[in-house]
Structures are given as C-alpha cells and as structure tokens.
C-alpha cells in the first residue's frame, strides 16, 4: 500500500495545472496518467490558443505543454509521476484507489485528497458502417499525425464543425492531408468563426445542415461516404451527395470521463450543456465527496484554457484543505484565478457553459470549507 497527500488522476491540461499548483504550495502529489506520455490533448495542438496572456493566448498547445512540463520538472521533489497507469477503481471502504501500471503492476494507493482530471471520451454517431476501419475519432487522428507523425489517411471527411472539427481539419491540411469537406448538422459552425474562416479560405467546403447517412466500405475499410442535406427542421431531404474519402473523422462532441467520480459517490447531475453527467461542485471545484475535487473536461466539456484554470483552482483549494496556504495568500491567488475563469466564460460563446454550470454549481458553500 502506497500513500500520497494528493492524487491527481489525469495528466492533461487540467491535471498538470492542478499538480503543479498543489506542489507549489508544498503538497506532495502523485500524478497518474493512462497514456504512454503526459500532456493529454495539449501535446497534439499545433494551433495557437485563445484567451488572454495568463492562459498563454497566442501560444501553441504543444508549447503550453512544454511550459507545464517545465513547471512539473521544477516541482519534481514533490511530484511523483506514473504514466501508462490507469486508475481503475476507487474503494470507499478504505479510501484506496486501484492503479494498474504498464498493464502489469497493480498498485494500491491511498490519497488524502484526489483531483479527478480524467478528461473526456469521443462521441460517435449512429450510421451504417460507423464501425468500419477508417472511421476514427478526432483525438485519435491527432494522436496519429501530431504525436507519432503517421498519416491517418489521404483524404478525410470531417463530421462536425465545432472547434475540434475545424481545428483538426486545419491540422490535417498542415500534415499534407486533403479534406473532402466538413459536415455540420446545424445551420452554423459550432466552433469559433475565425477557425472556420481559416479552412474556408484554403478551399475546404463546409456543408451546413448536412448529416452523414453511411460510410461506404470496400475491402473492409472506408472508401467514401454519403451525406444528406436536412431541412430547417432537421428532417432529411432528397439531396444526397457521395463523398470520396478514405477516412471519416468524428468530431461530434465529447463525453466527460466520470467513472471514478461515480465510484466516489459524488452527486452527479446530467447537464446537456456540459455534455453528460458531471459532479456537483462548489466554487473550489470540490465535489460532494469532501475528499474529491474535479477539474477540466471531467467536470464538463469546455476549452483547454478553462481546464488549466480549473486545475489551478482545485490545486490551491486542496493545498488550503491540507493547511498549506490560508488567509490572504489564499484569497489573493484564488480570486485572481476565479476572475480569469469568469473572464473566459463571460462572452456569448460562454453562455452555454454558464447555463450548464448553474445546474451543477453550489457557490453557497453548503459543503466543504468556507472561503
């Protein structure tokens, strides 16, 4: 049995930020990540981030990952990193988290406090042949081409014009892959308008009010797709178009990865705006289980900039719960972080997030400690 003060599950933008923040206040941290290397989706982002300077705006995701890795390196005396390690379960009876490292080693770890920063999973749409090799998740395509330098295909049809669909289309073009088009059910792109403009001016068609009807399969793999126009009520029309492609990239949204939170007995609420079941949390990102905090996409699907700030908020709040920081020092840093998070969510594009958060946030401090 191992022990740790703070366990951070997930080494993406939220988990890395949480780990370095908690460590910077003197906490001993164990950071576990199921992937072969840390960084989550950050290490796949070749585009420059939005936000303000405090959120590294204008800096590419890959560079932001490097900055966080440097912070982690500087805190290495306080942070134990276990990669290729999956947190498989939480046992409420003795407070143990079961970890499996390298598919071989079984580790029982008892943390005092846990931050769940497990990120999200890709959604899939139901359509004939959606299981065929060549139908890939957007995150998977980014991993292949941006981490390992492998072509995911030669000609890709993108399904979904949210920020991920738009950005991954642009990244595919940077890698030298052709984009057959971007298909979006809604009458407008869901991602930032400027991301759409970037691919449009390079000649990529965006088929608004369209849906994929099926993948065409030859010799067991994707060889094309049919897309269909829908009317203003979303009903299919007669207009069907055949698209030549060898890969179909699914960018139709994400679902928070929340198993550990369920196991920890956190009160969970289904919030459509946050894309799934998410834990009730207070203004410190603490859940209804007083030993569990949450940050990033596991708390609701949002941008990586917000995930990093949430990680910091949970990190410093845990440091306070462990008595490592208090009073004005805490107040000052915490309020600064909270202000940054509020700014990111302030505009029209943040309206959906704000409305979702109203359904799962309890800022009245009914549980947890008071600020």
């Amino acid at each position: 049995m191992r022990e740790t003060e703070v366990l951070v599950i997930g080494g993406g933008p939220a988990g890395l930020s949480a780990a370095v923040e908690a460590a910077s206040h003197g906490c001993d941290v164990t950071l576990v990540d199921s992937d072969l290397a840390l960084g989550g989706q950050l290490v796949k982002q070749t585009h420059k981030f939005f936000g303000s300077e405090a959120e590294y705006a204008g800096t590419r995701g890959i560079k932001i990952a490097k900055i966080l890795f440097e912070e982690l390196e500087a805190a290495k005396d306080r942070v134990t990193v276990l990669s290729n390690t999956t947190a498989n379960g939480f046992y409420p009876d003795d407070g143990v988290v079961a970890l499996v490292k390298d598919e071989e080693e079984y580790i029982r770890l008892r943390p005092k406090k846990t931050i769940v920063a497990t990120g999200a999973m890709e959604r899939l749409l139901p359509f004939p042949n959606n299981d065929a090799p060549g139908v890939y998740g957007a995150g998977a395509i980014q991993t292949l081409m941006n981490v390992y330098g492998v072509f995911p295909g030669e000609r890709v049809l993108m399904i979904g014009a949210g920020n991920i669909g738009l950005i991954v289309s642009y990244q595919l073009m940077q890698a030298g892959v052709e984009i057959a088009g971007i298909v979006e059910f809604m009458p407008k792109v869901g991602g930032y308008w400027v991301h759409a403009a970037k691919v449009r001016r390079l000649g990529v068609p965006i088929y608004l009010r369209h849906t994929i009807t099926d993948a065409i399969v030859e010799k067991g793999v994707v060889a094309g797709a049919h897309i269909q126009r829908v009317d203003e009520k979303g009903r299919p029309t007669e207009e069907i178009r055949k698209i030549d492609c060898d890969t179909i990239c699914m960018a139709v949204g994400l679902i928070p990865t929340a198993e550990i939170l369920w196991q920890a007995g956190c009160k969970m609420t289904y919030v459509p705006e946050l894309c799934g079941h998410v834990p009730q949390r207070n203004a410190f990102m603490q859940t209804t289980n007083p030993n569990f905090w949450v940050a990033g996409d596991a708390s609701g699907i949002e941008e990586a900039s917000a995930a990093m700030v949430e990680g910091r908020i949970s990190g410093i709040s845990i440091a306070r719960a462990l008595g490592r920081i208090q009073g004005e020092a805490f107040q000052e840093r915490y309020l600064e972080l909270w202000q940054r998070l509020s700014n990111l969510r302030a505009g029209e594009v943040g309206a959906k997030i704000r409305s979702g958060l109203e359904k799962c946030s309890n800022c009245g401090c009914d549980w947890g400690e008071e600020a």
């Binding site: 303000s52 009458p187 449009r200 001016r201 000649g203 990111l344 594009v349």
Partner: protein, 169 residues
C-alpha cells in the same frame, strides 16, 4: 435563413460589421506600410491582437470577449498582430505600394510549402478560389514561432478578396 447568412455561418465574411471593419479610405490611400484589416466578427474570449499591438492601434479590450476596435491613425502596418492572432484573422493591406494597379497584402501562413521570395503564387479568396496571381515580396517570421507573414504584391482591385496564398505546384 438566407444563402448569404448560411455562407457567413460557414466562416465566410459577407459584409463589414463590428470586428471586421475597413480603414477610412482617405487615410488608407496615403498610409505608407499599410493599415490593419481584421476579420473577427464574433465575440470570443481572445485578446492577443490588442495586447501585442506595439502602438495601441488595436485598442485595449475592456472585456476579453470584445471584438477588435482600431485607431487607424496609430496603426503602422507592422503586422505583429498578423503573426500573433490565433485565429489568423489579421491582415495588413498597403495601398501605397508599387504601381497604380498594385497593392501589397501581408497575410499569415502556416502551411507547406512556404512561399519563396520573388516567386509567383496563387492568391485565394475567402472560399479558396484562385482569383489572381501574386508576387511574393517578403516572407518573415516575426515571432520565430513558425507562423510566417507573407508579403504579396497583388492586383489592387483584388485587395478586398485576397486572404490566402498557395504555392503554385
């Protein structure tokens, strides 16, 4: 919903609006080195254009979700915002450059192959159609971060359309 609205909703600028305004013509015609043209019509949480502007021409944002507002008198056409903008939404158009039928456009570039100075490139409009040939004057990398700024000489009557270039294969 009209076709024009759908076109805008797919990321194509169809008319000038807040965040995507043009400089006053009189000033623009005589401003050496050009003036910034920004096409960022949606309120999103992003401000590097303003925070990187060395002269304050892109006015500091009150709210990070503001769309950019520009004091054209202060703009020196330096193209720092062109290199900095995460949305690749900043351009500089210099109407004073070259012959009477020419103009210079400075635009962001992050693809391969990188245009070579002195060569001819295809100039693309907002839907990627090659609408003219342009001559590459300079290729710079102001922030040393692999976002290039391509200075391309284009037909003057096309400066309102040309927003990208592609190397002719």
């Amino acid at each position: 919903m009209t076709e024009k609205e759908l076109l805008f909703n797919s990321g194509v600028l169809t008319e000038r609006c807040p965040g995507a305004e043009l400089p006053p013509r009189e000033l623009w015609e005589k401003k050496k080195n050009g003036l910034v043209v920004i096409e960022c019509p949606q309120r999103i949480p992003c401000n590097p254009c303003a925070s990187s502007c060395p002269t304050g021409a892109i006015r500091p944002f009150k709210d990070i979700n503001d769309t950019p507002a520009i004091d054209y008198e202060k703009c020196i056409g330096c193209a720092k915002c062109v290199a900095q903008c995460p949305g690749l939404a900043c351009f500089v158009v210099d109407l004073t450059y070259g012959e009477a039928d020419e103009a210079l456009v400075k635009l962001p570039f992050e693809m391969l192959p990188v245009p070579v100075e002195g060569t001819s490139v295809d100039c693309l409009n907002r839907v990627g159609e090659a609408v003219a040939k342009g001559k590459v004057l300079h290729v710079t990398e102001p922030l040393r971060d692999k976002t290039r700024v391509v200075h391309v000489v284009v037909p003057r009557d096309r400066v309102m359309d040309i927003r990208a270039v592609r190397v002719v294969k």
